[in-house]
Symmetry: C2
Subunit: 218 residues, 2 copies
């Protein structure tokens, strides 16, 4: 079964633990744009992405969003199982960015595994460290970087994730990733276009001068 | 020995693990204002505070600081042992806020314990979750709250930590906690003073109208 290839510490688990995962993991495929975890929902469980992409973000009281990190194939979404983690006092929302296939390991099943397996407990440490590092990176960006640097970095990251320099994305969507207003994004994109770094089309941003965009992020 | 009272999961450890901690923990007392961990230093080890207070913060390339969280007696500083955590890719600085006594458990000793003990591994998960929650709270404050709300919240938190409404603190120091410029702090404090919420003296901020300050943070 595919889960054995995707679950990162599979080889270190006991046969019993492997069987428990195989028995309880549910395969799901969800179209783009669906909320698969939010603060109002129940704590469903651990999500192991096998195809597609998830986005984890937080939302202000006024509905403004900022992206915390993306979850790619082979990666795990831990916070959809946050009820099994003690001392987690925050809510994040997780949404499919494109059609996404994943295994869901229900919280109460995963809880038992994590409480009894040193391998799984240490693996949770690793995931949490990686996500913590993502959020610290974001915090530093927000504290110390100007929005034009962050926007240049976002365009390059998006191009790398999508494997193309022709990005199909609205200004509104970019604003939701960066936690700012659409007007701010439009103003900076127009400035970038004026400098010949990008070309703006309807619902599309084309990267023209990658080198100069990279220089901007330094 | 005192460490048994302060180490949070002591009772769940095996006799061997307890002995290993007792043998390797070094008691230290450090005056106020000393850096006990920064990005250039070695990874010393796990710090268990028994008296005083530590401050964990990050610093911008230009030297501006922002406080991530404080570490109080009975709490553990995990990131001074960050080398034992895989996938931690950020640096924080830890400084004594006042004279502080702590136990230091050297990294290489603690690494062995954490790799072999389910209790310790799960406890590391808990500490990391709590710190992650602190940083998420800060991120939300920075993203969605105005500086006057954050400053009102900081004064109330400081009063609670110090057990007094007469805070001996400079505007410069407050700015370093909040990651802003001294001028911004001075401007807001003067506004608060004008509204009768606080009284400003040299090197001192006295809280006069606690209720109104609390209202401001909502």
């Amino acid at each position: 079964m595919e889960i054995a290839e995707f679950f990162p510490v599979w080889g270190e688990l006991t046969k019993t633990e492997q069987d428990e995962l195989l028995t309880n993991a549910v395969k799901k495929t969800v179209p783009a744009g669906v909320l698969i975890h939010d603060s109002n929902e129940e704590c469903e469980g651990l999500i192991l992405v096998t195809d597609g992409m998830l986005r984890a973000f937080i939302t202000s009281p006024e509905g403004r969003e900022v992206t915390l990190y993306r979850i790619l194939p082979g990666q795990i979404c831990l916070f959809s199982a946050s009820c099994i983690l003690r001392d987690i006092h925050f809510d994040i929302t997780v949404q499919t960015e494109k059609e996404t296939a994943y295994y869901l390991i229900p919280s109460h099943k995963f809880k038992r595994l994590s409480e009894n397996s040193l391998v799984i407990s240490r693996y949770i440490n690793e995931i949490m460290s990686a996500r913590f590092s993502d959020v610290m990176w974001l915090l530093e960006q927000i504290m110390w970087q100007s929005m034009d640097k962050r926007l240049a970095g976002f365009l390059l990251e998006e191009a790398s994730l999508e494997g193309t320099d022709k990005l199909i994305i609205t200004h509104e969507k970019i604003a939701s990733h960066l936690g700012t207003a659409r007007e701010v994004v439009t103003r900076i994109l127009k400035y970038f276009a004026g400098e010949g770094l990008i070309e703006l089309k309807r619902g599309e941003v084309d990267i023209i001068d990658r080198m100069s965009l990279e220089d901007l992020t330094l």
